[in-house]
Every structure is written in structure tokens, then in C-alpha cells.
């Protein structure tokens, strides 16, 4: 049973997080930052677009450099 649960957890991890856990962690952290800023009087809508703009090229660049 525990082996099946582990296999299910591994499958779900692979489905959602995939190859780059750092990018997933960075995006989750950006959501937390968005939540923190939205409790202040400052706008917070820009955090997630900025996180995508920074993390996606970084992740792609790491793979491209590794393959070069």
C-alpha cells in the first residue's frame, strides 16, 4: 500500500513539478510574495509576471548550457 502511495506521489510530483523543482519553488515563493504585498497598500499584480519573466528564461538557459 505504502509503495503504491509513494508511486502515486512520485507520479503527481512528476506531473506538476516536472524536471525543474527550483523553478516550481521559485513560482510558489512568488505567490507567497504576492500574498504578502497584497496585504499592504501597494499593488502586487506584477510579482507573478515578473517571476515568469525571470524563472522561465533561467530554467531554459540552464538546460541549453548543459546540452551545449
Amino acid at each position: 500500500m505504502s509503495r503504491r502511495l509513494r508511486a502515486l506521489a512520485a507520479f503527481l510530483y512528476d506531473l506538476v513539478v516536472g524536471d525543474d523543482w527550483r523553478m516550481a519553488l521559485g513560482l510558489a515563493a512568488a505567490v507567497v510574495v504576492t500574498m504578502a504585498i497584497s496585504r499592504t497598500r501597494f499593488p502586487s499584480w506584477w510579482v507573478l509576471p515578473l517571476a515568469i519573466l525571470a524563472l522561465l528564461p533561467l530554467s531554459v538557459w540552464v538546460v541549453a548550457r548543459r546540452r551545449a
Binding site: 506531473l15 506538476v16 499593488p43 499584480w45 522561465l56 531554459v60
Partner: protein, 258 residues
């Protein structure tokens, strides 16, 4: 998000997965016989339908903001991973998804296996090949239906869009009895990656308490912006790859001469 936009988004995302599942069921049916392949595909679809039916009402019972925060974050992470793969493929860093090659590999392997009858299933290998293929690809379909549907409180509509995608793709696949190689799968994956990332970011931010400038109209800037980023990254990778290939071509003859 309007009902039409929800339908189109889920239909496109699910049609990509349906192409992959159809390839596997076709390989199982042609190599091992259609009865076992059908049993496997139908059994997997039943498991997925029960999963959506069980989780759907539970998800829609969660308060909207909390649901958007959690589902939006998961969708964002899932979408960016999907987009990243599409960019790497478009940029020539990883191999393009070749449905024809996958079909041939599955067919060859399936033709070699022995026949074992189990209960009413004439061929267990054909059954499990179709069952696993539909279940694995279908899990992503169920995930998309649940995330998009629960966020918009429209799981029946999202399910109908997924069902329509499966029906259209499966009908086309079984009409030609060959993998749907002409479907621009990699381009579709890029579009779906953009949509998942955009909607994920939009819902996650709303769930976190953000108010987007222009409300829903922000998506009209967010989605093209993400698409542009993906296209620029793919173009940059292709140019880098081209430069490397030219360098390798010019250095090869001098290397041979020495």
C-alpha cells in the same frame, strides 16, 4: 473567463493529450486485437470519469479565493513546466514529439509479447497497454478539467469540452487507423503551455488577494506577453544552435586536415 473561452482552453489542452492516448490505443488494437484494447481504454475512461465526479463537487465546495490560490498555483507551476518543454523543443534543444515514431515503437513491442487471457479479457497485454496509456494521458485531462472547471464553477462544461476533444481526436485517429502525425502537436503544446501559465498566474494572484489592472482584461495582455516570451526564448535557442552548428561545420575540415 467566459464559457466559450473556458471551452476552447480545455478543448485545446485535452486534444493534445487525446492525440497521445489515441496513438497508444491504436498500437494496442492493431497489434493485439481491438476487443482487449477497447476494454482497456473504456476501463481507464471510467476510472477518470469517477475521479472527476468524486473530486469535482468537493473542489467546488471550497471558498473561491482559497481554491483560486491553490489551484492557480498548481496550474501555474504545471503550465510553466509545459511551456518550458515546448520552448526547449521549438528551440531544438530536445527532440520534437514524433507521434509516428512512438506508434512504431509501441507497435513493435506489442507484437512481440505473448497472449494471456484473463477473465473476459482475451489479451491482457493489449488491455493493460491501452488502459495505462489512456489513464496516464487522461490524468492530465482530468487535472485540466478539475482546475479550469472548479475555478470557474463550471466542471460540467469543462468535462463536455474534454469529452468533445477526446471524441474528435479518437474519431479522426480510428478513421485513418494511423497516428495523427499531421496534428501540429508541438505548436498546440506551446499554445496550451501559454494558456495554462497565463490562467494559472491570473487565478493564483487573484487568490492571493491581488486586483489585476483592468480585471479580466488583464488576460489580454498577460497571455500574449507569455507567448512572446516563449517565442523569443525559442528563437534565441535556435539562433544559438545554428551558431554552434556553423562553428562545428567550419572546424570539422580543419580538424580532419591536421
Amino acid at each position: 473567463m467566459s464559457a466559450g473561452a473556458l471551452f476552447v482552453a480545455v478543448f485545446l489542452a485535452c486534444s493534445v493529450e487525446a492525440v497521445e492516448a489515441t496513438t497508444i490505443v491504436l498500437a494496442a488494437g492493431l497489434a493485439r486485437g481491438w476487443r482487449s484494447a477497447w476494454y482497456g481504454a473504456v476501463a481507464a475512461l471510467a476510472v477518470l470519469a469517477v475521479t472527476v465526479a468524486a473530486l469535482g463537487p468537493a473542489l467546488t465546495a471550497i471558498p473561491t479565493d482559497a481554491l483560486r490560490l491553490v489551484i492557480g498555483t498548481v496550474l501555474l507551476v504545471f503550465g510553466v513546466q509545459w511551456l518550458r518543454k515546448a520552448v526547449l523543443r521549438a528551440g531544438g534543444i530536445t527532440a520534437l514529439h514524433d507521434e509516428g515514431a512512438i506508434f512504431q515503437a509501441k507497435l513493435t513491442r506489442a507484437q512481440r509479447a505473448d497472449v494471456h487471457r484473463r477473465g473476459t479479457v482475451p489479451d491482457w497485454y493489449g488491455f493493460t497497454l491501452a488502459f495505462q496509456g489512456v489513464l496516464l494521458e487522461g490524468t492530465e485531462v482530468a487535472f485540466i478539467v478539475l482546475t479550469f472547471g472548479s475555478n470557474q464553477h463550471a466542471i460540467p462544461l469543462a468535462s463536455a469540452a474534454a469529452g468533445a476533444a477526446i471524441l474528435v481526436v479518437a474519431t479522426a485517429g480510428f478513421a485513418v487507423r494511423a497516428p495523427l502525425g499531421r496534428v501540429p502537436e508541438n505548436a498546440l503544446k506551446f499554445v496550451v503551455g501559454v494558456m495554462l501559465t497565463g490562467f494559472g498566474a491570473f487565478w493564483a494572484a487573484e487568490g492571493a488577494g491581488t486586483h489585476w489592472p483592468g480585471s479580466d482584461a488583464a488576460l489580454l495582455v498577460l497571455l500574449p506577453g507569455i507567448a512572446l516570451l516563449g517565442l523569443l526564448l525559442a528563437a534565441g535557442l535556435r539562433r544559438q544552435q545554428g551558431t554552434r552548428d556553423r562553428r562545428a561545420a567550419t572546424s570539422a575540415p580543419s580538424g580532419q586536415a591536421s
